[in-house]
Symmetry: C2
Subunit: 144 residues, 2 copies
């Protein structure tokens, strides 16, 4: 489906995957509105998320489908899934199971702020950057 | 800067623009946490957003820098700007000036929900889809 008005005003779900086969996915905490992470989905990740009610993504670096939390146990239960006007981005309102969404051990991937009003080189400032879990312990489990 | 640990744990702002020169930008309402829109920024859009405290993006379809609200007057005042772990996405918590962020006339671009738990073809459902403003009147102003 490529008709612009149908994509924007219609009720047919027709995700507009890019040349790389992906759309952008934003996950927010369903209760607080905090943005937990930004990732990508291919068609299979979209289908599995809809079918299971849990978040699946596509890893651009590993070039594979992944279920959020498959290693860490930190799955995301989807309270609501929305699509944007041009259907190239989705918004997941989720219940984040476990202590965090970020592979660095934080609850959110967005743990640094960019100060505003300055030109030139920018120094970031930590925000809610305490580790919620130990990524070494969670991701580097001994193999069976 | 390409050192992974410095990108993730350091305080140097080093946005990791993709092959297309862009990073992903998510704008949420600073008060409600609602996702208003997902867009993209090139280096100039990032710099102008930091300098001015108002949101600038890069339009992939028009292939040009744009200040949000330059036509509609619906500018976004940035309350906080954050960057994610791998510095390829930013989150803007904004005060949305005017009645909406979406070019279709809605407050948010995410005015349709995708029902969960079903396989196969999906019918969207409207959510908060009432027009907050008339896009014809706002965008198609008579030329001087």
């Amino acid at each position: 489906m490529t008709d612009k008005s149908e994509i924007e005003e219609g009720l047919t779900f027709a995700p507009q995957f890019g040349a790389d086969g992906l759309i952008t996915a934003v996950a927010t905490d369903a209760k607080t509105g905090e943005v937990l992470m930004v990732a990508h989905m291919n068609a299979e990740a979209v289908a599995k998320t809809i079918e299971t009610g849990e978040a699946w993504y596509y890893s651009r670096s590993r070039k594979q489908l992944w279920k959020k939390g498959e290693t860490s146990g930190h799955v995301q239960r989807v309270a609501e899934l929305r699509v944007d006007c041009d259907q190239d981005a989705v918004w997941l309102r989720v219940e984040q199971v476990g202590r965090g969404a970020c592979h660095t051990g934080r609850r959110s991937c967005f743990y640094r702020a960019v100060p505003l009003g300055k030109a030139g080189a920018v120094r970031l400032e930590f925000r809610n950057a305490d580790k919620a879990f130990d990524p070494q312990a969670v991701y580097n489990k001994p193999t069976k």
